[in-house]
């Protein structure tokens, strides 16, 4: 098991290096200089001053050298400082990462809580009206654009029905300690973010459950006289649920991308919205740091999913 983990970790390293290369090239191949943004709005700088600033920041060195330098700083978790807030990027990101993780993890939990029962239900009633309805709902759920769903939800729940707040993480007056208030603010963005995942999970679980129900061991269990309930929980569940782990790991990329849009619509103070704001402001260090951190989290997600999969299914780690 330890050797499997070590092997998987080793294979993640080229990917992470590739991510840093992409992120670095993106900013440095773009037209315009980081320096132009840095000095934007500052008047009275002569060309000599700008040139001096450029060499001070190390922007006149050849690109590979700049990359190695940036990479070595990254390894020490030094992402540089924001152009505008003059704060270290790492502290800015880690401040907000908790908020995004709240949203993301709640979304994942919701997709499991809603998606799995939906899929199992559809599989048990395969071919019936309910099965068709749930399939249509699943496909529709993945067809609706998330940002539009968010807008419509705000329209319906905040403006018409007035039951849920339209944005933010908590009421400023209560100071964030009221759990009910926090949940009220969390439920809508988390639901919107989880829509696609619910659709994908339910269809997948339906297929997996159908497949598991066809197996011989289910026949044997029924022949032994076990009730449908026991057959489901004791035999079918374990086998149908294993592949969900891989789905979970894979949904991180979708969630972090979707979080950018959802956080912007619901004014959620998270990493995604910070990235969007940084992009608009051309705050390069924050943008680069965010790309790297989000992507590394995705890679981590795949890694954890693979390791969990190998832990549960012993055949994997020996392949």
């Amino acid at each position: 098991m330890a050797s499997y983990i070590a092997r998987r970790l080793l294979f993640s390293i080229p990917t992470i290096i590739g991510i840093t290369i992409v992120s670095f090239l993106l900013v440095h191949l773009a037209p315009g200089d980081p320096i132009d943004v840095f000095v934007f709005g500052t008047s009275g700088l002569s060309p000599e001053d700008i040139a001096r600033l450029r060499s001070q920041l190390g922007l006149d060195r050849p690109i590979p050298i700049q990359y190695i330098d940036w990479l070595s700083k990254l390894l020490r978790f030094d992402f540089g400082a924001s152009f505008f807030a003059h704060e270290p990027v790492s502290s800015m990101v880690f401040d907000r990462m908790g908020n995004t993780l709240q949203l993301t993890i709640t979304s994942l939990a919701l997709s499991l809580l809603i998606g799995i029962p939906l899929g199992v239900f559809a599989a048990l009633n395969a071919g019936s009206v309910w099965d068709h309805i749930s399939r249509v709902l699943a496909v529709a759920g993945s067809a609706i654009p998330q940002f539009w769903l968010g807008l419509v939800c705000i329209l319906v729940f905040s403006l018409w029905l007035r039951v849920l707040p339209s944005g933010g993480m908590y009421n400023l007056s209560s100071g964030g300690t009221d759990l009910i208030d926090r949940l009220r603010h969390l439920i809508l963005p988390a639901l919107v973010l989880s829509t696609t995942s619910i659709a994908i999970f339910s269809r997948f679980i339906r297929a997996e459950t159908l497949e598991a129900l066809r197996q011989d061991y289910v026949r044997t269990a029924h022949a032994k006289g076990l009730s449908q309930n026991i057959v489901l929980t004791r035999h079918v569940a374990k086998n149908a649920l294993i592949p969900i782990i891989t789905l979970l790991g894979g949904s991180l990329e979708r969630l972090f991308g979707g979080a950018v849009v959802v956080e912007t619509i619901f004014s959620w103070p998270g990493m995604g919205r910070m990235g969007f704001d940084a992009a608009i402001q051309r705050d390069y260090p924050v943008l680069m740091g965010l790309i790297v951190i989000s992507s590394v989290l995705v890679v981590l997600g795949y890694l954890i999913a693979d390791i969990a999969y190998a832990w549960i299914d012993p055949r994997i780690k020996h392949s």
């Binding site: 992409v22 993106l26 067809a143 609706i144 539009w148 995705v298």
Partner: protein
């Protein structure tokens, strides 16, 4: 598909097929499936109508409605949808622009944009996937590394960064988009090529002295057709979704050029006064994507060799 049947009376030409040509059987399978499934047929009809509307948008707006999508009409700001003149069937936005005309043009823009991105996706994806699957070894390792790297970076974040850093025109944006989303196609093609490479007719062609490129284009590529056709529909749908999200954020198709996404950008601030602005673009996006998914599913059922009798 047989390379040569024992009873064949044709002369020895190693590279001819005596069975039905692969592409023709694909088309037959598709036609058979569509004529059997009503939902699929409806989906196809809707998409065809959409295509028709998109292609004839200048005709409709210029001659039938006589209204340009960018025409600002300050006398008609925030008109409610009404049954009167056709131009105002869906109302107007804060600049007095007809929502109906913008919707039609927006569909055109979204569809053309997606078509461009998917073309790039298919070109890059099939080429790279085939090469990786055919040659394997080091080349496959490098391609795998690139694919894993691109897949790990959330596409939305990468696109936002590209849109902001390069300020691309819509065509350039489509190229950027294609540059990062070919990985899905490449993976499928690579997997398929892996297995196709082991078929007997490939070995026969190789033994007859055919060069790699010829084998890839003449033998492997036609058999990739089912998978490519299936994934095209789903790819277009996902590009439409991402492009509309990007345009909504103000980073995709820039106004005044209408796109279903950027029609919604400011609709949020008018939710109270003009709620009708929010509905049509979103419904169009959902409907289009839904139909494309249904078509993609139907095509996959039609062309999956395991499901054939």
């Amino acid at each position: 598909m047989q390379l040569m049947s024992p009873n064949s009376t044709s002369s020895l030409t190693p590279n001819t097929f005596n069975g039905p040509h692969p592409l023709k059987s694909v088309v037959n399978a598709i036609i058979r499936t569509v004529s059997r499934d009503p939902a699929l047929a409806i989906g196809c009809i809707i998409i065809l109508l959409l295509l028709l509307t998109a292609l004839s948008a200048p005709l409709i707006s210029g001659i039938v409605l006589d209204h340009s999508p960018e025409a600002i009409d300050l006398d008609n700001i925030l008109r409610q949808p009404s049954a009167g003149p056709a131009v105002w069937w869906l109302g107007s936005d804060e600049y007095g622009r007809s929502q109906l005309v913008r919707l039609i043009y927006g569909g055109r823009v979204s569809l053309f944009f997606s078509a461009l991105v998917v073309t790039i996706n298919l070109t890059l994806g099939v080429a790279i996937g085939m090469i990786a699957g055919y040659y394997r070894g080091r080349i496959d390792d490098v391609v795998n590394w690139i694919i894993t790297t691109l897949v790990s970076i959330p596409a939305v974040i990468l696109l936002i960064a590209m849109a902001v850093l390069f300020r691309p025109s819509p065509v350039a944006l489509a190229f950027f988009f294609g540059l990062i989303s070919w990985t899905g196609v490449a993976r499928l093609v690579r997997g398929q090529t892996f297995s196709l490479r082991e078929r007997e007719y490939v070995t026969a062609a190789y033994a007859s002295g055919a060069r790699d490129l010829r084998i890839m284009l003449r033998h492997i590529a036609p058999n990739l057709a089912p998978i490519i056709i299936t994934i095209t529909g789903i790819d277009v749908a996902s590009v439409i979704l991402t492009e509309s999200a990007l345009s909504y954020l103000g980073l995709g198709i820039q106004p005044p050029t209408p796109s279903w996404g950027n029609m919604l950008t400011n609709a949020g601030s008018y939710l109270f006064r003009a709620g009708w602005l929010v509905v049509p673009p979103g419904v169009c996006i959902t409907l289009t994507v839904l139909c494309l998914y249904i078509i993609g599913d139907g095509l996959r059922d039609a062309l999956d060799p395991r499901l054939r009798r």
